[in-house]
Amino acid sequence: MTKQERKKAIIVFSLIALVFMIGSILTGGHGGEEESIQTVMRDAVMHDVNKISLFGLKDVNPALISGFIVSGIMILFALICRIFVIPRFKLVPGKFQLVLETVVGIFDGMAKGNSHINGFLGAYIFAAGSYIFTGTIFELFGVQAITTSGHPISLPAPMADVNGAIMLGCLSYLVIMSGGIVGNGVKGIGKTLKDFSLPLSLSFRLFGALISGALVTELVYYYTAMSYVVPVVVGVLFTLLHALIQAYVLTMLTSLFYGEVSEKVEKPPKEKRKRGKKRTTVVKEQAV
């Protein structure tokens, strides 16, 4: 591209942006939203206003639909990779192969680093981490859906719904418990139940982190004045970073607790204990 062509492109791009800006200012100050910001933010947390019909069977939260779409996209992606990419893997990896291997390697390494029983754990944290990351990124695309009341709605991240977060938090807890059972039998259940607050903390940490990002993003997009430049920063901070951080936090916590409860506790032999007691009594006697 020559300098003149570049200049032309910049001018055209700037003019288009200017036209959009003028248009958005002229069409009103609420960014097209019919609800108040309070309603929007309350609904983002409570999901009591905007519902989407699930094939006419039930009205569900939009995040559940997001979850289905994200799962569909991920399964399709996995299927394409399985058919077209993985059979062409080489010993010296290309760029895309390297990305896939790195992602699998990160979760596998995390599982191996935290527990000696790591086959299932690696697969679980891979799925959970990928789901959280992709689901959070999905929010950026602003896929539209129609609510039961007929309003268009931008689909949120699946984990921005408390039900989704509770599901993943509780499931992670169950996975941790399964690690305890495999590693220590019935004692493993006891060890897991000791951390009874874990499912709550895992669920609401995820929900809180993602809903806070969603709320800030909602707030920013609600006002026209904040719709220029700011969303770039907000989008990166509250979506991309959240996607990475929350995926890492949940998988890391799950691995850590899994490793902790699956670790075998070796009791010292009884004879040594007795000897130890004898020694202590001798020492005490000597001291007296």
Partner: protein
């Protein structure tokens, strides 16, 4: 679902769970397991290569050790052979030296014998010559005396005859 905080809906939780279970299964079968298998296969391949290289290295080390051992043995053998040869050479030298000495002594002895013999012969011939010369001289002397005596006798006879 009134009364449940945050509008938690158990049915939707189960739907999320159903969704995630399918996703987990699909990701495990389609992506995680094949990629992990490939990575493990490659690791095994490189481990195999590594073990083969180590084996080859060990073989090379063994060959080197064996070669060095053989070289040492050869060196020892060469040294022993050299020692043996030098001893033989020394013995041969001594033997030849002794033989040369013996021959020299023999030559000297022969020479002496020859010299003595020649000396004796010379002395003997000289004695013979001297004896011959003396004999000749005596003969001559005798002859001279006889002639002079005969001449004297003749003269005496002639004188006597004259006188008579």
């Amino acid at each position: 679902m009134t009364g449940v905080p945050l509008n938690i809906d158990w049915q939707q939780i189960l739907l999320h769970l159903f969704n995630f279970t399918i996703l987990f299964g699909a990701l495990y079968i389609l992506l995680y397991k094949p990629v992990k298998n490939f990575m493990e296969g490659r690791e095994a391949h490189y481990a195999d290569m590594d073990s083969k290289a180590e084996q080859a290295l060990a073989d090379a080390e063994n060959s080197k050790a064996s070669y060095l051992k053989k070289e040492k043995e050869f060196d020892d053998e060469v040294r022993a052979e050299k020692n043996r040869m030098s001893k033989e050479i020394e013995a041969e030298r001594e033997r030849r030296l002794a033989a040369a000495r013996g021959e020299a002594e023999k030559i000297i002895s022969d020479a002496r014998t020859e010299a003595d013999r020649e000396k004796n012969e010379i002395i003997e011939s000289a004695q013979k010559e001297i004896t011959g010369m003396i004999t000749d001289a005596m003969e001559k002397l005798t002859l001279e005396q006889t002639a002079s005596d005969a001449f004297d006798q003749f003269l005496d006879a002639a004188e006597e005859a004259t006188n008579e």
